[in-house]
Each structure stands twice: as structure tokens, then as C-alpha cells.
């Protein structure tokens, strides 16, 4: 008896199958779209943005030291390596990494190269000066502090992330 009750009519069978197949097809089309739409959001948090500079935390001192490291750049299909530099040192409890790009017009600053002000960053182009923590010294051309790298310490090794502006 119960078998009879549950019998599926031809019309019902067709409706079920068509809905099922149609659903599969729709899902097959939508899934890649959803994935594409979400992709940038999934990527942003990735760790790969941080680059090791091959220096451990113990090797740091209060004296800024220059490190060069390479970052891989993707420009369309063209991949290239770019050399970047940073001035890394211990600032109180934290590790600080400053970008060497002068905030005036983009020359490269150096630590302690100006004989009159050995404890400062010095820009050779227009004699801009910055304090040890990157603060620009009033009366010199730069108008804002040196940019800072995001710093992460993993297992005692130092990793640098993106460069942030301060003002």
C-alpha cells in the first residue's frame, strides 16, 4: 500500500529532475563568480606581504643599521625584483624600521653622515635632517617624518611589511 502512496508520477519525476539539474547548472555558473568576487578579500590578509630581511632581533642595537632586501614585484605578466632598503634599530621596546626615502623629494637618506649632526639621518640633496625616530627637524626642507615599515618578529627574525606614512 505504502508503495502506492509514494509513487511518483511522471510529471513529478520530471519536475524533480529538472529542478535538480537546473540547480546544479546554476551553482556551477555562480560558484566561480562568487569566488572571483571574494578573491581580493581573501588575499589581503595573507602573510606573504611580509619579507624577511635576514636579521634577527638580537643583532639589533639602538644604532640604526642599513639592510637591503629584495621584493618581488608583479606588473602584469612581468615579474621583477626590486631592491629596497630600510634603517632598522631598537627604539625602546619595539623594533623600528624606517624607509630611507627623504620625504622632501625622494633622495636616499643616510645615518650619521653629516659631521655636525652625527646622531641624525641626513639627506645629501638639500641637507634635510631627521631625528633617530624619523621625525623631521624643523627648518630643514622635509615637511613630514620618514615613512615606517610594518615590522613583525617571528621566531626572533625580523620581517618587514608595507610602508606607512606618518604626519
Amino acid at each position: 500500500m505504502s508503495e502506492k502512496k509514494h509513487r511518483v508520477s511522471r510529471r513529478q519525476f520530471l519536475t524533480y529532475t529538472l529542478t535538480g539539474v537546473g540547480g546544479f547548472m546554476a551553482a556551477g555558473m555562480l560558484a566561480p563568480m562568487v569566488r572571483m568576487a571574494l578573491d581580493p578579500a581573501l588575499e589581503a590578509g595573507a602573510d606573504s606581504d611580509f619579507v624577511s630581511i635576514g636579521l634577527s632581533e638580537d643583532e639589533l642595537s639602538e644604532e640604526p643599521q642599513r639592510v637591503d632586501f629584495t621584493v618581488e614585484l608583479d606588473d602584469g605578466w612581468y615579474q621583477s625584483e626590486q631592491t629596497q632598503s630600510a634603517w632598522v634599530f631598537r627604539n625602546g621596546d619595539e623594533v623600528m624600521a624606517l624607509s630611507p626615502i627623504c620625504t622632501h623629494l625622494g633622495c636616499t637618506v643616510n645615518w650619521g653622515t653629516n659631521e655636525d649632526n652625527p646622531e641624525e639621518f641626513f639627506c645629501p640633496c638639500h641637507f634635510g635632517r631627521f631625528e633617530r625616530d624619523g621625525t623631521n627637524i624643523p627648518g630643514t626642507p622635509p615637511t613630514r617624518p620618514l615613512d615606517v615599515y610594518e615590522v613583525e618578529v617571528r621566531d626572533g627574525m625580523i620581517y618587514l611589511g608595507q610602508i606607512n606614512q606618518r604626519d
Binding site: 629584495t70 631592491t83 623629494l105 625622494g106 633622495c107 639627506c123 640633496c125
Partner: protein, 151 residues
């Protein structure tokens, strides 16, 4: 600054700060001498680009001054002086000519600017990190010649 649209925009705004022109002097030759000419050109390009990167706020890297090997010294000198004179009229005070070509050692261009002659080495087959180091080393020799003019 480089010879690009983006940098000319910055230059227009910061003209008074950019007073030094760097001009690479590149010999051009075909046939047997082509390889050497390319090698010199590539080396000079890396070297001047390094200078530009370090001192971009004060230095404008102009397009290379090119010439055929058979062009006479007198002619080259006149043409180069004309370049310098032209840019001097437009606000540049210091000129640095960078070359790997021996010929320039016999041509005096002191009135137009500072000439730096540096023997070239082949850079195309060097691994990027090594190349950067080697170029930096060579550039350190030139930099004082440039910065001395500023003070």
C-alpha cells in the same frame, strides 16, 4: 628624476631644487664593435640609474647623448656643449657626464661640466644582487665628484 611624464610633473613643482643634470655619453656602433657599444651602454645605464635613484630630488637623468664612433672629437664636444648650454638656460647649474668610452679622455669638456670616465664591465650576465653591489661600488667613486660641486 627620470625622463618620464610622471617625473616632469614633480619637476615642474620643485624646479628650484633640481639643479643637476646627469647625461650618459653613449657610443653607438654596428658590426664588430656593436657588442662593446652595447656593453658600455648597458653599464652606463645601470650606473646613472643608480645615481638617479639615490639623488632623485636634486638630479635629473637626461636621455643619453649618443654618437657614432667615427664622429670627430671636435663635433662631439660642440654638440655636447650645446646640450649643456641649452639646459643651463633652463635652470640647471651642474652637469655630470658619465661615460665608459675612452675617447672622452682626450676631449676636454670642463667648461660644460664634470666628466666621469669609468671602465665598463659586462652586467647582463650578472645575478641581480651581485650586479646591484658592483654598480653601487662604482657609483661610490662618482658620487663625491657630484656632491662636491654642491657645497
Amino acid at each position: 628624476m627620470k625622463w618620464t611624464g610622471q617625473d616632469t610633473v614633480v619637476y615642474e613643482k620643485a624646479k628650484e631644487y633640481v639643479d643637476t643634470a646627469v647625461i650618459p655619453l653613449l657610443p653607438v656602433a654596428g658590426g664588430k664593435e656593436q657588442q662593446e657599444s652595447v656593453m658600455m651602454g648597458e653599464f652606463t645605464q645601470y650606473l646613472t640609474e643608480y645615481l638617479e635613484k639615490q639623488y632623485m630630488g636634486r638630479v635629473y637623468l637626461l636621455p643619453p647623448f649618443t654618437y657614432l664612433k667615427e664622429e670627430s672629437g671636435e663635433e662631439k664636444k660642440n654638440r655636447l656643449s650645446a646640450w649643456a648650454a641649452h639646459f643651463e638656460k633652463h635652470g640647471f647649474k651642474f652637469f655630470l657626464f658619465v661615460t665608459a668610452d675612452m675617447q672622452w679622455r682626450k676631449i676636454s669638456v670642463e667648461e660644460a661640466g664634470e666628466l666621469v670616465w669609468i671602465p665598463a664591465f659586462s652586467v647582463h650576465d650578472m645575478e641581480p644582487g651581485k650586479r646591484h653591489q658592483a654598480i653601487e661600488q662604482q657609483a661610490q667613486q662618482i658620487i663625491p665628484l657630484m656632491t662636491q660641486q654642491w657645497t
